[in-house]
Symmetry: C2
Subunit: 395 residues, 2 copies
Amino acid sequence: MIDALLSDAELRAAVDDVHPSGDDPETIARIAWSVLAEPGDGVAGTLIGELGAAEALRFVFGEPRTLVPPGRESRTLAEGISRWSARADPRSVRRAVTDARDVSARLIVPGDPEWPMALDDLGAHTPVLLWVRGRPSLLRRGPRVAIVGARAASAYGEMVAAELAGDLAASGAVIVSGGAYGIDGAAHRAALAVDGATVAFLAGGVDRAYPQGHQQLLRRIADTGAVVSEVPCGVAPTKWRFLSRNRLIAALGQATVVVEAGWRSGSLNTAGHAASLGRPLGAVPGPVTSAASAGCHRLLREYDARCVTNTAEVRELWESLSPDGETAENVIDAEQVRLLDAIGTRSGVPLVEIARRAGLAPDRVRALLGVLELEGIVEQTAAGWKKKPTRGRRG
Amino acid sequence: MIDALLSDAELRAAVDDVHPSGDDPETIARIAWSVLAEPGDGVAGTLIGELGAAEALRFVFGEPRTLVPPGRESRTLAEGISRWSARADPRSVRRAVTDARDVSARLIVPGDPEWPMALDDLGAHTPVLLWVRGRPSLLRRGPRVAIVGARAASAYGEMVAAELAGDLAASGAVIVSGGAYGIDGAAHRAALAVDGATVAFLAGGVDRAYPQGHQQLLRRIADTGAVVSEVPCGVAPTKWRFLSRNRLIAALGQATVVVEAGWRSGSLNTAGHAASLGRPLGAVPGPVTSAASAGCHRLLREYDARCVTNTAEVRELWESLSPDGETAENVIDAEQVRLLDAIGTRSGVPLVEIARRAGLAPDRVRALLGVLELEGIVEQTAAGWKKKPTRGRRG
């Protein structure tokens, strides 16, 4: 499949319009993966992490297909292949790019200067790419705070969301949310009202305004902020895609604040992602008589969320972190993870290519590889660096 | 002073009317101490704990006065003596008893069957006695939950307080509070409304309705519950006595719930006592826009209070504890503390007298003394048991 795509002149020209790397096989392969796999497909993520996107595509669709090892992994992989095969149509890949180009969306992939390293904390669930309408640079600017909550918000909740988002945006924070009615909308609007920066993650394609009633709001966000999605243009939001989208909000935010949430609100899913990523989590309390606050109180009780009642208290959530929003330890971990994601066990990868894939400076890559070599995790071959095979590693 | 009091026939007759032990020197000495010392006077508490109430009185007012050891303790003690001397008037002691008798108040002292062992956790700040109008037995009945909060409560706060107190009282819990306007009053009233049990701790004498507007409410509480104070009848509530009273609410409650509290509310003082006593502490959240909830949110943020939004969640606060509301470990600790409080380093105390003072069964005292003797903490003399002097122990 990848070879057919790479020889598709129309596709390569279109990619050139949405991404500076143009016809790089990795970029085209990632676009293909975003068409083939649902958001957060961990099997695809693992495969791409191990082999690189293009090589993973060849592995899956190449003839003769590389032998799949027996056992549990093979079944998971076989299921993945049958899942992905159902969507293996070069026209879909071409359409994903041309539709994006038509709405002036930009593509960013891991390794790009605009790629938000924060998302790499998602490991195998890191998105394969992001489509962005607006300013991709906002995704790396800090501090970034996710302000999310119930669609069925109360006037109280929308007021608090607006106050927090407005104050924080006015002081330079990027407000991250999901573009939904209720709390999300109030947060985005308040950020725009103070000429602040705001990012909306959509569950569907960035060419679709969802919800419809937020068509104008999303256009305004795209004008000065960023409207982002990991799914191709034309793709409709589904329940699964909403849940998957939530992990991106939680991962991009250096802190997540839930303003209002029902007992089973989707915002608790975002909060759960934030907590499992080790991101500080805040919850705004409300009247115990308000169903719209029940989820927030649940977060205080069950998720050990911090009670936040004003902007200063929200700011405290991330102020324990270093200026760029990650502790020094996390930066090292993330860099190692990204470096290891950039190389495989099969064939050696040259240092400059590792640097490009991982989005790290070549000097930094050299230093990290030195450490990893001493630890027996990587080894140098004639072709470049590769991971040392370890017991239990997947083929 | 104690000898003058013991030979006062009118006093002894009056004590007989308020307490079964009648003319027991310890009981009369405790009444004297309650007149001499302000609530929570730790110096008096330590002295009484070391020597017993009557012996402590003799030590302080006897002629010739036992020599005070040099150093810091002596100054603390000298200051205490000058403080207590200012109030050393046998007529005040007599009035404390006759005034209490006139309003049918009952006296309870440590060792009485009704004495709430929970208060012994206050150590040197354990009250020397309690005056009770109503049913002293309620003080030992469990579960007991303290429901407190702002006088300047909102309609929301009073509603929540009433709902929690009503539900809990209906299911058999004793509602402990401070008899004040606002949250306290709402909690007491709700308990009465379901024919439940409720205890009001006053900062002034039990013969005085404070606040005046709660005269009828306090009368109703005394009818079926208990109105309690550690200060003599006739004594007015002061700022200090309010703060001291709060420790009794916190200590008697097996859990404390703050329903509404301003940023500097006295309820935070009660909450602080509960936390330092290791009692579970709950706070009811409210709108972040409500000043009456600011203190509760502070408790959630700074005191690690548990967010409670309904009766079941309040009940969870103490359900981790054993049926009588104290963990087995706490019971042992408290018994040891009380036993050690009942003996001094100076002269031996017979086992039966220790049992009486500590409010423990003689068999239990024998067992505990055996353990403490093995640990080198107590020793047996001809006169009875005494603490072994240790480096740094006060004279």
